[in-house]
Symmetry: none
Subunit: 184 residues, 4 copies
DNA sequence: GATGAATGAGCCTTCATTCAT
DNA sequence: GATGAATGAAGGCTCATTCAT
């Protein structure tokens, strides 16, 4: 899975052949098919593992008895910190959904939606508690938060100007400013 | 080009064959190669046309003698409004860069960077003029702005809850709140 | 088609690869798939062509105003004579039906059944006219006639002890003796 | 062997994989190769077992001191009755000979020829004794008898209009009529 | 006796591209 | 401008077989 992720990131799922994968591992094609039923099954495994872990970690954030502000920051940190920990898997995750069979894609899409809805629920809680502005559209803001963070996967280079930690702080700040009421 | 974009959006560049394209048009493969040197040349044309138009429209926004705030809003509107006008082309644009030859990819990446740097320059101008907060990192905010807008291409459905116009307003508001100084 | 029949006869459909076929023709695999949609499509074409010709020739025999005895002999001659004319195609025809998709197999089986039913109808006519014995089961006798003739394809060697013509005479005689009433 | 016969009948030898066989049994491939040296060895075993049993039973028929007429009827009954007893094995027997190595195929073909020659010898004896018509070609009639009976394996459905016993009577009658002299 | 993992060859099919007409 | 036919390479997958455990 690790090797295949690296290759999918580099060349894309369709352009990566099973041969590429097994060559990188020094095994043979037959061996691949002993462990995976198909190329798509491998892709599905990558998707599943990624979203499940993300959801689990999000869950543990939500259980804390912390203000919405705090929870949202944690989720941003979770998503951005992941670039380092989970590495390039997120890249595959965002780009290659379409190569799953509809049946599988649906399952993943559903789990993704759950993740987004949890963000939405934090936003709603924050609006109720007065932490966030009353006039926000929580669904669209949830998408915006995901946009800011996920887009990083397209350009962020570990070892560049900023660490993931610094970037997370920067974006937490930007997002909270965007949604908290103007102070009097 | 139109037909091929539709197919690339649907199945991805690699998974779309020349046969798919010509079948959709009711012509033959030979004919394709009369008009395009290669499959990659077609992809390059799509990329080029898209970014050039975007840059041109951005240019005309920058030439106005308007406050930075205004210019930034216009750029957000430009990007989001495009989902309707240019439709799915942006999708190809964001996903299939990697299938260009390095030489071509470099050219496109350079133009994309220009677009981002122009946003950066608007942000810098705004900071200087006091419209935006002094402590912002303009480069990262430019990326954030692109994240918010470009991410929409992943989930926005024309004819859904919001129009592109409404979404643009919503996001302009979110972004400006995120970067303007807290009012006293 | 000719080459592929020869190979299918020799090694069987499954054991014959497209490579085998195109090698025998001095062309390339790509070329094969330009002309046939799939290996199974080729097999279907062979089946279709064979049974259709057989049915057409049977039809022309049935239209004659001849006694049932005569018609049955003609049909035996048709089937046995074919070994020389159509050669090995019949072999494929009898052995490889199972490799057609159910949908295609059904179509072929239906046409085969028609052929048999025509034999049955000759038998019934002969029974009615008193040419054949009253107590015969026409369906089973039709199968028996097909058994006698089709089985030849398993062992008959052109250029052996007998010509197809002689064999046809021999079998016509055997069959007619088997079904005509005992003379007083 | 039982399971493999069922699969060979259904899909053909080439199209049946070892995996198919061991899956049907709930064991593993390694296990198959503990018991059989190769896929072909299994096929050979099937062939051998079938023809040897047939020959043994034919032998016991031949030893009876009965008229040729009687013996031939017994052999027809043996062959047709087998559809019920031995079931689908005969199907494999007739179709998959070609997948044996030449060396093995030769051995089987030789035993098959013996079976046919025994029928021939019954025919010759019957001709000599005046039971059968003088002008018959015993070899060709032996082939015809095998055709009538073996062809049944292609279409006979247990539980259909006729039992194997009834079919055997019907065909015995047809064949004897075909070869016995016309009564005065 | 049986298993799980691996192998290498081969299979059917698809593909981007070419080119004579 | 367009077509039909061909090509060679590659792609996903299956297979019979092997072997250490």
């Amino acid at each position: 899975m690790q090797q295949s992720i690296a290759l999918f990131v580099d060349k894309g799922y369709s352009a990566t052949s099973i041969q590429d994968i097994v060559d990188a591992l020094g095994v043979t094609k037959g061996s691949f098919y002993y462990h995976y039923k198909s190329k798509e099954a491998l892709l599905m495994d990558i998707h599943r593992q990624y979203i499940e872990e993300l959801l689990a970690r999000q869950q543990s954030i939500l259980q804390d008895a912390a203000p919405a502000k705090e929870k949202l920051s944690e989720i941003v940190r979770l998503l951005i910190g992941d670039m380092e920990k989970q590495g390039p898997i997120a890249n595959v995750y965002f780009r290659e959904l379409r190569h799953l069979k509809e049946e599988n894609a649906k399952a993943i899409r559903a789990r993704r939606a759950e993740f987004r809805e949890q963000i939405e629920s934090v936003l709603i809680a924050g609006i109720k508690s007065g932490e966030f502005r009353r006039e926000l559209n929580p669904k669209m803001i949830a998408f915006a938060v995901l946009g800011v963070t996920n887009w990083s996967y397209q350009w962020f280079q570990p070892g560049g100007e900023l660490s993931t930690g610094e970037l997370a702080e920067l974006y937490t700040d930007f997002i909270l400013h965007g949604i908290m009421p103007t102070q009097k």
